[in-house]
Subunit: 179 residues, 2 copies
């Protein structure tokens, strides 16, 4: 929710790269979210997210279904990129899941997200095209190869930064690299 403003303030360009978390987790040996595998840590992470959203004035509603199947949402994000709406659409999807507690595997939820991003419902069909599917697979492989093990992750040069709380560090690294 905040990368756009913080990056713009530093004059840094951001390239969003959607990937699937399932294969990334599988590469670590996890068959579901670590929030579910480790209950004490999971309870903490939800509370942490709730506190952060409250502090930032963001709505938060823990989804009943978690983790969710984000395959269609991720493909749509790649289709939205062709319309220069990747960031707007992605934020709508995250707000649907974590702000409203909805299930983003539900096509009606995704259609609402397209609407909120000012995108045409025809993208539902575009998202099923073979080149979109293979691009998402390639980007997921690229994420694993880059050592990514969770989301959000930020890369700047060869450096990897993981988590909302490392966003400023990542952007500062990009500023230093750009000088």
């Amino acid at each position: 929710m905040r990368i756009g403003e913080l990056a713009a303030a530093r004059g840094i360009a951001v390239t969003w790269k959607p990937f699937l978390l399932g294969p990334v987790f599988a590469a670590q040996g996890w068959d579901t979210s670590p929030f579910n595998i480790y209950p004490a840590k999971g309870r903490y992470m939800w509370r942490d997210m709730e506190r952060i959203c409250a502090a930032r004035g963001l709505p938060f509603c823990r989804p009943a279904v978690f983790p969710q199947n984000g395959l269609m949402a991720a493909r749509l994000a790649l289709a939205a990129a062709e319309e220069n709406r990747l960031d707007t659409f992605t934020k709508a999807v995250f707000q649907a899941q974590f702000g409203a507690g909805e299930d983003i595997a539900d096509e009606s939820v995704l259609r609402d997200c397209l609407g909120m991003a000012g995108l045409d419902l025809g993208l539902m069909q575009r998202a099923q095209a073979p080149d979109i599917k293979s691009a998402l697979r390639a980007q997921t492989d690229e994420a694993i190869a880059a050592g990514i093990f969770g989301a959000p992750s930020f890369t700047s040069g060869t450096e990897l930064f993981w988590g909302d709380d490392r966003l400023e560090q990542a952007l500062d690294h990009a500023v230093a690299g750009a000088i």
Copy 2:
């Protein structure tokens, strides 16, 4: 390294409570540090720590042995508490392990830490007393019961905060609770 100064600036009293990480990890189903169980995450965590230490001007040297047996160090920390030197001694132990890359299972390293904290070497014997041993076990059980799954963790009222990057949140929560 920074809790003392930040807490003092907010007028907050800090009670340090050493506990053993081994039983805490075992309660999560981990038989060693998650840094070792999940290599991609482990590589990242070491690099993250290296970057944070560089940014704060703290020495960093990744220890060859990890995780280390911190049993004697933790018992000594409880003995140091009786001399009101718990924080000073603990910082010396963390600097030995992560600043100098030494093994804190080594008694000569611990003797150096006692010396740096201005403590008597007689504490090596005090640390082996039954009441110290049982106090450490009780405090470790208390940590697990509080939902703690890693270190450092901070509690304020019924809220749990995990990790250096949540220190300010924890202290701010304590300030709000004290008003």
